[in-house]
């Protein structure tokens, strides 16, 4: 790295023709040779060299026999001459970069990009360097700093330079660097500042000057304070995210079980059906409309509702209908249904997991602080859970079907007497619950695995949530899901995932002792019914 950048510094302005030997080394050499070739290419410093490096980083560099090509789609250019190569040679092999090479490439490209005219490219390069820059880059960074006009970039580059000057440089430079670092959000800064305060083996400080150390202490406190906030925000978000997933998984059950009293052990499998529906829709898009792939969820969400809902209505008509009033026996029948559903999926799709790809807008995340990334997929799921919840609430309180469902729940006989078609309401309500389970499956497919056993891992948790919240109460389900999310995440940060899970289960047992009907108990005659 050091040699590379010195080379870069010295030859940055030189514009040589690309040497075939260097490119060949990059394509065919051992990794030490490849690293040297990267350095040489950076030294060449012209656009062609940058293009070759960029191509290697993006996996577009290929070899065909002895020649090295940059292949973009169906078009190929010779890496050495820059000439178009047509037609594409049939026998080609990728030049594959390993981690070491990719790191070198990233550094080299960042160095080259720091003086790019486009702001976004410079910003990305600065971020890359902020992660841990080599001291040899200092002259380059300073040069870029001089030229930089953008305020944000200026401060970033300043911090990068400051980090580099921490060890050497005059006392004033060191103090300035430390003060500069005090304003950083990067967790790496903490380590840098700590290294200033470190004591050597003989008891002397790494930093001889006391004034500098005092400043370092102050900066360290400032950085640590901000990092702690970041961490707290992180836990808050992960709790909400876990809570929203539990909520989605349990909402359908809150309807089928909570409102209708059907102990639906196949609930998990309906989640699975939803996830597989998403998978199938995704495959259709990939095969027939690859251009619109990012929008497959727009189709997958309704499909993931409709298919499980249809399955659920079919089940209700054929099996569950005959078991009303024998709630515990629905347990047996639905357990049988779940076995059949699992095996059906296994026969159709195979026993292994299938891949559901996030659409582009759901990959990656937003960095609210350096080191605290909120993944888009989870943010979308939190919003999705809220939307589904609102939808159900509106449906139950504002529509005729909702009115009927509530009526049948409260007093089936009376509802029937005043003309509510109770059997049809049952079918619709059960279908609704199953459809919501399917929506949960669609959401889960974005963050977890999609396999035949998907449902089994959520069924226990779902029942816990519904029962903890209080049967027949949507609000209870919401509070219970969020509460469990928080309890789980706080305990996990403190005691590890295994003990956290055990503690939460014990907590549920204790809580039910205190509130035997869950958080929100039904009151009145229905209780002992």
């Amino acid at each position: 790295m050091r040699t590379l950048l010195i080379a870069l510094w010295l030859f940055a302005s030189g514009a040589h023709a690309l040497e075939a030997a260097i490119v060949e080394k990059l394509a065919f050499g051992e990794s030490d040779e490849q690293v040297a070739a990267i350095a040489a290419l950076v030294a060449a410093g012209d656009e062609k060299a940058a293009a070759v490096l960029q191509a290697l980083a993006e996996g577009e560099l290929q070899t065909a026999g002895k020649s090295v090509l940059i292949v973009k789609g169906e078009e190929a250019t010779d890496a050495v001459t820059g000439a178009k190569v047509a037609p594409l040679p049939a026998e080609r092999e990728d030049v594959i970069a390993n981690n070491r090479l990719r790191r070198e490439l990233a550094g080299a490209l960042a160095g080259l990009k720091l003086i790019s005219p486009q702001r976004e490219i410079r910003l990305a390069a600065a971020k890359e360097l902020a992660g841990g820059a080599d001291a040899a880059m200092l002259p380059l960074v300073k040069k870029a700093l001089e030229k930089e006009t953008d305020a944000e970039l200026k401060s970033m580059l300043g911090q990068i330079a400051a980090a580099m000057e921490l060890k050497d440089g005059s006392k004033e430079a060191r103090i300035a660097a430390i003060r500069m670092l005090g304003g950083s959000n990067n967790p790496n800064t903490k380590m840098l500042l700590l290294s200033v305060l470190e004591k050597g083996k003989d008891g002397s400080f790494a930093e001889p000057d006391e004034e500098v150390r005092r400043d370092a202490q102050a900066s360290l406190r400032a950085v640590e304070g901000r990092l702690a906030w970041g961490e707290r925000l992180g836990i808050l978000f992960t709790s909400i995210s876990l809570g929203s997933i539990l909520l989605l998984a349990a909402l359908g059950l809150a309807i089928t079980y909570g409102l209708m009293g059907v102990i639906n052990m196949a609930h998990g499998e309906l989640i699975m059906v939803g996830a597989y529906t998403t998978y199938a829709v995704q495959n259709l898009f990939r095969a027939h409309a690859p251009g619109a792939f990012d929008w497959y969820l727009a189709c997958a969400v309704p499909a993931a509702f409709v298919v499980p809902a249809a399955v659920g209505m079919l089940l209700e008509r054929s099996v569950i209908r005959w078991l009303y009033g024998r709630p515990l026996e629905t347990l047996l029948a639905t357990w049988g249904i779940s076995l059949v559903l699992i095996q059906t999926v296994r026969t159709i799709f195979g026993a292994q997991n299938v891949q559901v790809e996030n659409p582009g807008f759901m990959s990656g995340g937003i960095e609210i602080l350096v080191g605290v990334v909120l993944p888009w997929s989870r943010i979308v799921i939190v919003l999705f859970a809220a939307a589904v919840l609102t939808g159900i609430w509106l449906l139950l309180t504002r529509t005729r079907l909702g009115l009927f469902v509530r009526g049948v729940t409260q007093n089936r006989a009376m509802a029937s007497c005043v003309g509510v078609p109770t059997p049809r309401v049952d079918t619709w309500a059960f279908g609704l619950g199953c459809g919501i389970a399917g929506l949960a499956g669609c959401a889960l497919s974005q963050i977890g695995n999609v396999g035949p056993d998907l449902g089994q891992s959520y069924i226990v948790d779902s029942f816990m949530v519904v029962v903890l919240g209080g049967v027949g109460q949507l609000a209870g389900t919401v509070y219970a899901a969020l509460g469990l999310g928080f309890a789980n995440k706080l305990l996990e940060a403190w005691q590890g995932a295994v003990l956290a899970k055990i503690a939460v289960l014990v907590f549920i047992i204790m809580f039910i002792q205190k509130r035997p009907q869950g958080l929100f108990a039904l009151k009145g005659r229905a209780v002992e019914g």
Partner: protein, 426 residues
């Protein structure tokens, strides 16, 4: 009426099976082969394909005339990821179906469950999965990797300049025996290499854990303290959520590489690997290995999957390390039987030592004359955007397995061969 017919048929089938199993003379007719892999329950996700590849090898051998002129006849059972059922099915295969050899098991607990049965009835088991070692039975041949054939080379690679020179280590696993043992061995190894205790972080999650937000955030925090690598022994099903979280939280392989010992081509099938490029896995075989034997193997598998209409594989055939190990095991058993000229268990065991086979990995694998493990080459691969691995490092040649790891206290006294059957005093 129909019902009664069904019962009759069932009774008839059972009695036929009972008579049939005792009826054949030992050395005529087909040779029965037991296949003991879970086809349902939690392990079906990994094991089903091993059943299929075993059946493929049997078909191949039969097409070429069988073993000693006798056809092979598979007896497939489903132990349903239920450990007591594994023991029951093993006993059934050995005493009722009278199979000559059994290919099966994936998890350590399933192997531990059937082990007493195989030792009691003097059966023969081929176990095709990488495991934690610390076991050596006369009745078992281990065709997967022992820890020194997988874990230790991987860690050495990550410590090297080429692998990024990691200084801090997160040992992350599912809370059960294989991860615990592997991590124990690795910890001892790292400390011997001069890594400080404070630079090792061991973390465990429960079975089926699917929420890796906190873990990934913790890894990030730990990585801020210096060049960090993660060694993952997370069990099959939890890998997808783990890798998805890793990708979404932007933890790149160039910053914090993750090396996994239980993640292969099959496991990555369920993941979009574009954000994961550069993360590593250590195995004795990768589908992407270029060797004539592998080209043939993958082609045969693709054709077999298509012909048998194996869901998933008929559209996207994948091979992985345990499949290769199962395949090697089947052929080595065939060679040993041909050498011993009998399927008698003791004679086959004696003939197994020193058998060689040109494995799909391109290496000539040898069965150790003594310790019932294969000599295998170790490959380290980086995940590619297409879900395959690119081999970035490999051992010079095959490595001998050390089932009793020297990094565990007391193992220096252990013999590197199965000890005679314990004679139990009455």
């Amino acid at each position: 009426m129909k019902r009664r017919n069904f019962i009759k048929a069932t009774v008839l089938a059972v009695s036929m099976a009972a008579i049939g199993s005792g009826g054949y003379a030992q050395d005529k007719g087909p040779i029965k082969i037991g296949v003991l892999h879970s086809l349902s329950g939690t392990m079906a996700i990994s094991e089903t394909v091993l059943k299929d590849v075993t059946l493929m090898a049997i078909d191949e051998i039969n097409a070429k005339g069988g073993v000693m002129g006798r056809k092979l006849e598979p007896v497939v059972v489903d132990p349903a990821s239920n450990w007591p059922l594994f023991a029951e099915k093993a006993r059934q295969l050995l005493t009722q179906d009278k199979v000559s050899v059994v290919f099966g098991c994936w998890t350590s607990v399933s192997r531990k469950s059937v082990l007493p049965v195989f030792e009691e009835l003097n059966g023969l088991l081929f176990y095709p999965v990488q495991y934690e070692g610390e076991e050596l039975s006369k009745n078992v041949f281990y065709t997967g990797a022992a820890p020194n054939q997988q874990a230790i080379p991987a860690v050495e690679y990550l410590m090297s300049k080429e692998g990024g020179g990691a200084k801090r280590w997160v040992l992350l696993g599912t809370d059960y025996v294989y991860p615990r043992t592997t991590n124990k061995i690795l910890r001892a190894f790292l400390i011997k290499k001069g890594v400080k205790e404070s630079d090792i972080d061991e973390k465990y999650t429960p079975f089926g854990h699917s929420d890796y937000q906190t873990i990934v955030a913790d890894v990030k925090k730990f990585a801020a303290g210096g060049k960090t690598a993660v060694v993952s022994t997370i069990n099959g099903d939890s890998n997808v959520p783990f890798y998805k979280e890793l990708g979404n939280q932007g933890l790149k392989a160039t910053d914090v590489p993750v090396v996994a010992f239980s993640v292969g081509e099959e496991e990555l099938r369920g993941v979009d690997t574009k954000p994961l490029v550069g993360h590593l896995a250590a195995w004795n075989y990768f589908m992407s290995i270029k060797s004539p034997a592998n080209t043939e193997f993958t082609k045969k598998w693709a054709a077999y999957a298509k012909a048998k209409n194996i869901a998933g594989h008929k559209d996207k055939p994948l091979t992985n390390d345990p499949m290769e190990a199962a395949y090697i095991g089947m052929y080595m058993w065939k060679q040993a039987v041909e050498k011993a000229k009998t399927t008698d268990v003791d004679k086959v065991i004696a003939a197994m030592g020193g058998q060689t086979f040109t494995a799909p990995s391109g290496i000539t694998s040898t069965m150790d004359p003594k310790n019932h493990h294969l000599h295998k080459a170790v490959f380290i691969g980086e995940v590619q955007a297409n879900g395959q691995f690119n081999v970035v490092w490999k051992t010079k040649g095959p490595v001998k397995a050390v089932p009793w790891s020297p990094f565990i206290a007391g193992n220096d006294k252990k013999k590197d061969e199965p000890q005679g059957k314990t004679v139990i005093a009455k």
